[in-house]
Symmetry: C2
Subunit: 176 residues, 2 copies
């Protein structure tokens, strides 16, 4: 059992709430926060005791976090148990999360929109308005996902620089 400072508790609780608002299980998010804010890798029982949740719940939540790719198993010499640690580079972490969400949610949505539009265009009971709306939605998802694909290749430093440019970037790139 890891003794938590008030600050750590506050952070973990908030992260859990944030999770729920973005469709991520509260415990999953809390475990992630705990591993992120803790200097060393923890084993499942330490997590169980620290957060007061069932061992099996921890097991499943850890699997979930691993499937996202933001938590990894590590081993400690002389200890049979699995230990878990979170990715620590925040930028990389959110890149990984975004990649997953793109793969799991954006890509299928784009596929569905294309499918819908194709069907709407060939259907007997024509609905030109729906076709139009679907087209626009499709084009939005196309543009943003492709944008993300480009942007994710940028090194963190380039992004930070780009941000600092602010409005100036529009002019520099020649989009008046």
């Amino acid at each position: 059992m890891i003794p938590l400072t008030d600050v750590q508790k506050k952070f973990i609780l908030h992260w859990g709430e944030m999770g729920t608002r973005w469709g991520i299980n509260r415990t999953v998010a809390q475990i992630h926060a705990l591993l992120y804010i803790t200097p060393r890798a923890l084993n499942a029982e330490e997590i169980t005791d620290t957060l007061s949740v069932a061992r099996s719940n921890v097991s499943n939540s850890l699997r979930e976090l691993q499937s996202w790719g933001i938590v990894k198993v590590v081993h400690v010499l002389g200890d049979r148990r699995d230990h878990f640690e979170s990715m620590k580079d925040v930028w990389e972490m959110f890149r990984v999360i975004m990649d997953e969400r793109k793969r799991r949610e954006m890509d299928p949505t784009l596929a569905l929109l294309r499918e819908c539009r194709a069907e709407a265009e060939t259907a007997k009971d024509k609905d030109p308005y729906a076709v139009e709306r679907l087209k626009e939605m499709e084009s939005f998802f196309e543009t943003t996902t492709s944008w993300y694909t480009q942007l994710r290749k940028w090194p963190t430093k380039a992004i930070v620089k780009f941000v600092k440019l602010g409005d100036k970037a529009i002019k520099l790139l020649g989009f008046g």
Copy 2:
């Protein structure tokens, strides 16, 4: 009751599922999809019948959508009832949604991170590791929210152009 084509049904159902994955109530998302794909404004009863959900559910969901700012009340001459229509410009719609999520979730998170860091730095039981992690998280949220604030001012066309530049933008801006 609005007769829905298969395509419309498919789109509405998918949108509902997408909603749940992003922490948005299924019915709320479905109503939004319905209003988006429908050419004219609908009254609450039409929505009730079309989606087969309770009148009260529609009422609450519509209030939620209005609080987000993506659905508006309109009136039809000679009809007392409120009619509802969705914003149709997809880019503007997502800008509005992002603004709200920033306001509701990002800004408070950033505030909490600052608070945590301040407390962690002055606490008796020093935890330099936590301070470090909180700092990095804070800086990430600062950078991304400020980035978003800049970017949301860009006209849609500029964003599309920017996307099409792809990797070239890095060179053009001089971030090698």
